[in-house]
Subunit: 333 residues, 2 copies
DNA sequence: TAAAAATACTCCATAGGTATTTTAT
DNA sequence: ATAAAATACCTATGGAGTATTTTTA
């Protein structure tokens, strides 16, 4: 007989009879009628090919062989109960492990804030943090190695869902002696790509900076492997760059460089939380994104408070984005 | 949710999906249709309050939390399978442990023969042997401490079933110099209860002997605590006794005493195998009794070969016995 | 005779089937 | 466009109920 045909309820019935030594009382304990319980015990005995109980109108007792079966039945039911308990714990929202990735130009500056806020609001949520490029993170996400990632738009979202978190403005960071450092709010048009220091290929920040400065002449001269190196290069007077707000605050090298806001209010990047749209925890992730939005760190603009600050998109990609947004909303809303 | 509402079959379905990573293939593996499997997985996820799988048309995979559930599902199913395996082994007829009791005046002389024959015919049947008086054995039997007993009729059989095994004749055992020892086949009427040595109260052999000699004059003079002592008392010339056939054979003291058959062919006792009539193994016990009958030891009369050799019963008890016999037959036949 | 299990039957919830639709790549 | 899961709808098995009978101490 295949194991699937065995009924856990029947095992419960059998144990109740063993405990009560009485079919009627056992039936009461199981909240079923006596004939129902009798019938199911018979069926079970038939399935097992042996009698579990020795019964008369005066005495009901497990047979010697029945005892063996009943002991194992207790084991089976205990393990089944354990499974239900596990499900109960696992199904508590905003608990367990959340494997979160963030792009390298955001993570180091945002994670401390995020960890603190998350632990305070959701103490039973354990974060496992990773950093990488957008491409790396998306791949890990699709493979199921990560649950969510924080990245900057635009991102190829097929099969994914997202919720924007905040808009992070870019600042012009230049050596104090550089002419641009004397302006209160330089324009994007005043940027020379010849003097622009960028991250190496693969970082979305590089692409976004170039996108903002597209139309400006010349080619790139230098690139750095990380934001920290970039800061040191600027401090050394080797050029200037557009850097995201969170990498600016509380910085020791601030005396060496000038930080200036850009005139264009949409010079920056939209940070979003992204997850697999079929992930069973989609609702929780959307909720988490809204939570992060409400706890946006100083220096960024929480999406709700933004007037026009959205990343520039081509008409086509904008339409696509709206469409996806709508679809996602109907799903996770 | 109560544990009884959980379905082992659903757990199998879930594991099949996890293994196949494909609902259709999993359905094939489980020999059900894809919609059936889909539906049951949904129901299971509903019961657990959480999604086990993350699925799209291209990819089906267990979610992180689902993995935990699936692991436990394997444990539950393994234990359930173990229960079925145990049942399969336990339900093999004539195997396992048989707790068998016999009256003290039979056991020591019959058990060696019985053990040998049983082990040869039913090698997977393990015998646990006990001795005692009829009353002690019946009590143990009713309490479920024994499975079967070998006793001499008559016995109060309410709630019990029995199958006769053999008729064991009594022999007159007397000191060689005693007058009765000179007769070839003494009659019961020639027995003097004054000279009769008996076992102490509680032994059915004592009662049966007295019953055979009822009507004979006088009271009892001496009694012994066991058959062996009785033999020594006879050898010492202290009296004579009626002793069962199996206690006679292969005896060292035979030179000191004379053993004479009694003229009456029904002077003896009917040995029967008795068990609780509601014992699930009743059929096996009846079969075992017939087996013992077919392997009756030398010196006794297998029931089938008996012409008139039945214990004397009053008309009333005889009727009762016939009635019980009939009832039992319809049950175990 | 009384207490208890077994049986007879009726009902309906649901596992399972087929046909079809929706969805995502 | 296609493959796959989900949905809709139907059927039938069997779990559960009530009423009754059988059993045994």
């Amino acid at each position: 007989m295949p194991v699937g045909t065995l009924s856990l309820r029947d095992l419960e019935y059998a144990l109740a009879v063993a405990r009560q030594r009485h079919f009627g009382k056992a039936a009461d304990a199981c909240h079923v009628s006596q004939p129902t319980l009798s019938g199911q015990i018979h069926k079970l005995e038939e399935q097992l090919g042996m009698a579990i109980f020795e019964r008369s109108t005066r005495r009901v007792a497990a047979s010697v062989r029945g005892e063996t079966i009943l002991q194992q039945a207790e084991v089976v039911l205990a393990e089944a109960q354990r499974l239900l308990d596990m499900a109960k714990h696992l199904s508590v929202p905003m608990s367990g492990i959340l494997r979160l990735g963030a792009i390298a130009t955001l993570g180091p500056y945002y994670f401390p804030h995020l960890l603190h806020a998350t632990h305070k609001a959701y103490p039973s949520l354990a974060l496992r943090l990773t950093e990488g490029t957008t491409a790396e993170l998306i791949q890990s996400l699709r493979r199921g190695e990560l649950d969510c990632i924080l990245a900057a738009l635009p991102v190829n979202l097929s099969g994914l869902a997202m919720q924007t978190v905040f808009f992070e403005p870019f600042f012009l960071v230049a050596p104090v002696q550089h002419p641009l450092a004397h302006r209160v709010a330089p324009t994007l048009a005043s940027i020379r790509t010849r003097e622009l220091l960028l991250l190496e290929e693969g970082h979305c920040l590089r692409d976004q900076t170039l996108q903002l400065c597209r139309g400006n002449s010349s080619s790139v001269q230098r690139h750095a492997t990380g934001l920290e190196t970039l800061w040191h290069m600027i401090a050394a007077g080797e050029g200037y760059s557009l850097l995201p707000a969170l990498s600016v605050v509380k910085r020791a090298t601030l005396g060496m460089v000038a930080v200036r806001p850009l005139l264009e209010s949409d010079a920056g990047r939209m940070i979003t939380l992204i997850w697999r749209n079929r992930d069973p925890r989609s609702r929780e992730f959307a909720q988490y994104a809204r939570f992060l939005q409400s706890k946006a760190p100083a220096g960024v603009l929480a999406e709700a408070t933004l007037p026009t600050a959205r990343p520039r998109l081509t008409p086509k990609s904008e339409a696509l984005h709206a469409q996806r947004q709508k679809r996602k909303d109907s799903r996770v809303g």
